[in-house]
């Protein structure tokens, strides 16, 4: 599984990154988590509000910081 956190490096993006890590740890699943910060890659997903979470190439949500519980439900 590949998880991407889209965002240009604002505080919210960092929080989402941390929450995703925590959700992964709690679930015991293994996945590669990467931060995507360059604009062209973000735009490729058609995301217009950051941060956004992408799992295996599919945008799960954009424009909010999801809680650990919410992310766990998506893994």
């Amino acid at each position: 599984m590949k998880i991407e956190i889209l965002g240009t490096g604002c505080a919210k993006c960092k929080t989402l990154y941390e929450n995703t890590k925590k959700a992964l740890e709690a679930s015991g699943k293994s996945a590669e988590v990467v931060k995507v910060e360059d604009i062209p890659s973000i735009m490729k997903y058609g995301v217009m509000s950051t941060p956004a979470l992408v799992i295996d190439g599919q945008v799960k949500f954009s424009g909010k910081v999801a809680s650990v519980a919410e992310i766990s439900a998506m893994l």
Binding site: I39, M43, K44, S49, V59, S62, G63, K64, V65
Partner: protein, 315 residues
């Protein structure tokens, strides 16, 4: 009810004398903070529920290939309900322009969205009354529409950074939330926002209370009154570095108005605080060449100054 609550605490519990400077300032502080936080938490929540129905992807679809004028009006109106944070200004700008939203229409959105925001409106409504809040919405929309039309007429597409036009933009899906999710989203949004702005509100109301109790009446009439033609441009210039602290700035401004600052000057100052910000300029520099960035700031500043003079003259 809030008034008697503040009176009770200050004059009965603490035992200050009504009419004393400290008593009046503290009374003002407690009354205003409680009122503002009540207003903020309820209204931000309601606004967030409404906003969850207008993701930027949907707004983009509505605005794409719209003609000027009607497009500018729609963009300014949608700017009120579409959630916007200056940290997403770049993807938003590219998404709009790429999907065929005309440049001028995009600017109407970019101007109205931060300027006509719920925090500024709540603070204005709570401290100045609904009439001033409505005037602020009306003139904010007007500034956004007119500035967007002018930028559109100037045909400045070539001053958008070149890479923007070559960008490959994916088709963003619209995430549809059910009602339960909307409420969750709104709750989180409200908490986040309150957590971010509460210190500014407390400091702003505190300073406002100090001015209210200690600065002599009519102190500002000479400098910021309606007869000083320089008051409006100076207020706009002062507003630029105060970005995003609308919550803290409005209580101070209210106290200044009591001491003689004219209403048009107050409105112009508020608009400059919310609409013209240096951090946003730095972010937009990623997608705009210097010339367009300067034109954008210049036109918005001029429009805001006009609004200031207008309301100083008629109110």
């Amino acid at each position: 009810m809030l008034k008697s609550f503040a009176d009770y605490i200050v004059f009965n519990l603490i035992g200050l004398i009504p009419g004393s400077r400290l008593g009046e300032a503290l009374n003002f502080f407690i009354y205003d903070t409680v009122k503002i936080f009540l207003l903020l938490s309820t209204i931000i929540f309601v606004v967030a529920v409404i906003r969850s129905s207008f993701p930027p992807e949907k707004t983009k679809r509505i605005l794409s290939h719209k003609r000027e004028y009607i497009g500018n009006v729609l963009a300014a109106l949608l700017g009120i309900v579409t959630p916007f944070c200056s940290c997403s200004a770049v993807p938003l700008f590219i998404g709009f322009v790429e999907s065929g939203v005309p440049l001028g229409v995009t600017f109407s959105f970019l101007i109205s969205s931060p300027m006509v925001n719920e925090v500024a409106l709540i603070m204005l409504w709570g401290l100045f009354g609904w009439k001033i809040a409505l005037i602020y919405i009306g003139s904010g929309l007007l500034v956004a529409i007119v500035a967007g039309i002018v930028i559109g007429k100037l045909k400045m597409e070539r001053y958008v950074q070149d890479y923007v036009w070559e960008m490959q933009v994916g088709n963003g899906e619209i995430t549809v939330m059910n009602f339960r999710q909307k409420l969750d989203y709104a709750r989180e949004y409200t908490f986040d926002l309150l957590k971010k702005i509460w210190p500014y509100v407390v400091i702003g109301v505190g300073l406002g209370a100090f001015i209210h109790g200690y600065v002599p009446q009519d102190f500002l009439v000479r400098w910021a009154g309606r007869d000083n033609p320089f008051a409006v441009p100076v207020a706009v210039a002062l507003g630029v570095p105060l970005y995003s602290n609308a919550a803290g700035v409005i209580p101070i401004v209210q106290a200044l108005m009591e001491k003689g600052m004219a209403i048009g000057t107050v409105l112009a100052f508020m608009m400059a605080v919310t609409a013209l910000s240096l951090p946003e300029a730095v972010i937009l520099k990623n997608v705009l060449k210097n010339r367009l960035l300067c034109v954008f700031f210049g036109i918005v500043a001029v429009a805001i100054i006009c609004v200031g003079y207008l309301f100083n003259a008629i109110l």
